[in-house]
């Protein structure tokens, strides 16, 4: 199966030529009960073939339970983007459509080790000492959603106490129900604080700080 046509591949290769350090995509899959897992795995394989800096490890959600638990992967299809360490960056569901942008940006961020956040923001994020989990619910047809995902992933990159998940809402209807997702992007922090819409980085950080108070 070929997911990316030649012109997209050429463009991606040129983006990936800027990569510096190795990035590993840990892809969790399962043979049964996960219709899109195979598509996600193929998608990730094709991405990894476009750069020798992008490694791929395909893991079985059931058989490689230990690894899943270590990375706190609790649903599939799942992709964790790791560099020299685990930055807590996760994609649940295929990062296609608009989320392709946030996915490519996450690879670049981990490889180049630069979040692009303002220096004062970095310092404020680094000073967070409590565990923070950020869930960003998206649809793949939502133009605003990648902005929210990118901010969450940047926060996770800057602080090991923070994990950040892009969640394709259509892929996980039980979560859509549980978290009452009626509009996207919807951000849920530590299952405690939630808000809708893509907000600027400093407002986003205020919600994070509110959640760990």
């Amino acid at each position: 199966m070929v997911l990316f046509n030649e012109s997209v591949k050429t463009r991606l290769k040129s983006i990936f030529s800027q990569l510096r350090d190795d990035v590993t995509l840990k892809v969790f899959t399962q043979e049964i009960e996960c219709p899109t897992c195979k598509d996600n795995t193929n998608f990730m394989r094709e991405i990894s073939e476009m750069s020798d800096k992008i490694k791929i490890e395909v893991l079985n959600f059931v058989l490689d339970k230990g690894e899943a638990e270590k990375l706190k992967i609790d649903k599939i299809p799942a992709t964790a983007i790791l560099g020299d360490k685990d930055y807590g960056i996760r994609f649940y569901g295929i990062p296609a459509g608009y989320e392709f942008n946030s996915f490519i940006d996450a690879i670049k961020m981990v490889s180049l080790k630069e979040s692009g956040l303002r220096e004062d923001m970095k310092q404020r994020i680094k000073s967070i000492e409590k565990p923070v989990n950020i869930k960003v619910f998206v649809t793949l047809t939502c133009p605003y959603c990648p902005m929210a995902v990118e901010v969450a992933h940047k926060f996770a990159f800057e602080n090991d106490n923070i994990t950040s998940e892009m969640i394709d809402t259509s892929e996980f209807p039980h979560l859509a129900n549980r978290y009452a997702i009626y509009a996207v992007p919807k951000v849920v922090i530590n299952d405690k604080i939630s808000f809708e819409g893509a907000v600027p980085e400093d407002l986003f950080l205020n919600y994070v700080l509110e959640a760990i108070k």
Binding site: Y98, T141, P143
Partner: protein
Amino acid sequence: MNKKIHDLIILGCGPAGITAAIYSARKKIDFIVISKDVGGQTVYSSAVENYTGYQVITGAELALKFKEHLDMFDIDLRMPEIVKNVKKEGNIFVVTTDRDTYYSKSVIVATGRVPRSLGLKEEEKFKGRGLTYCATCDAPLFKDKDVVVVGGGNSALDAVIQLAKYANNIYIVDIAERLKADPIMIEKAFSYPKLKYFSNSKIAEILGEKFVEGVVLENTNEQSKIELKAQGIFVEVGSVPASYFVEGVAKNKDGEIIVDCACRTSVEGLFAAGDVTNVFAKQVIIACGEGAKAAIAASEYLVKLK
């Protein structure tokens, strides 16, 4: 606080703002762009079939191509930032956003249009709780649910077409006697069997405890009311120009900023381009052309200042 005085501030990053930015970058003008998003209304269009050079392209792809062109230049893009106020104090423009205050010698307003609301008092309460203004974003969330689409133009029918992939019953609620949308859109939408059309109708009330559970429809001809059960309401009742934050400039009765053929406004140094203005025809290709004109006019204005 940002004390630097820029030569130019461009507000908005849709077709007009992006084109203005590309022209300004090539002229090496000192400028920043402030916007809440990239692409503006273009990204919500499922297909653009009248942009010269592309037989058919999705609005999202076209916006991405615009952005790629913009990214060739090193542009200071402040995003997402929402402009709260623009006014001229002496010879300097003061632009206040939700995050900062900026100063410049000239401004191009290219903020486009924003969706019109229903004007119901309970609207705020149900926003993001079943009431939505972005069919392309939120349609996948209403799988097997009953939904109401308010409006009768192309964007309403486009919403129906997108919802048909997911929803169960779809109700079109239209204030007019008959649909204004293009026949080809109507044909496409009505190929969905579970579609019902209510003409001469409007939403009188949204029902529900925390989330949308239904609506009260009022037929304005017969003065009658009925209740419909629905979990989603998609509002597609047109748009209004995003111009309310610009102080002291001449606008028409619809709130559009009045411009001349060089995108000049009633305020010297303040230019406007695209759908936020009274320009004839609101089209992507026209907004691009207007953005180019505004940038050239602003550049000439800046040269004369020096």
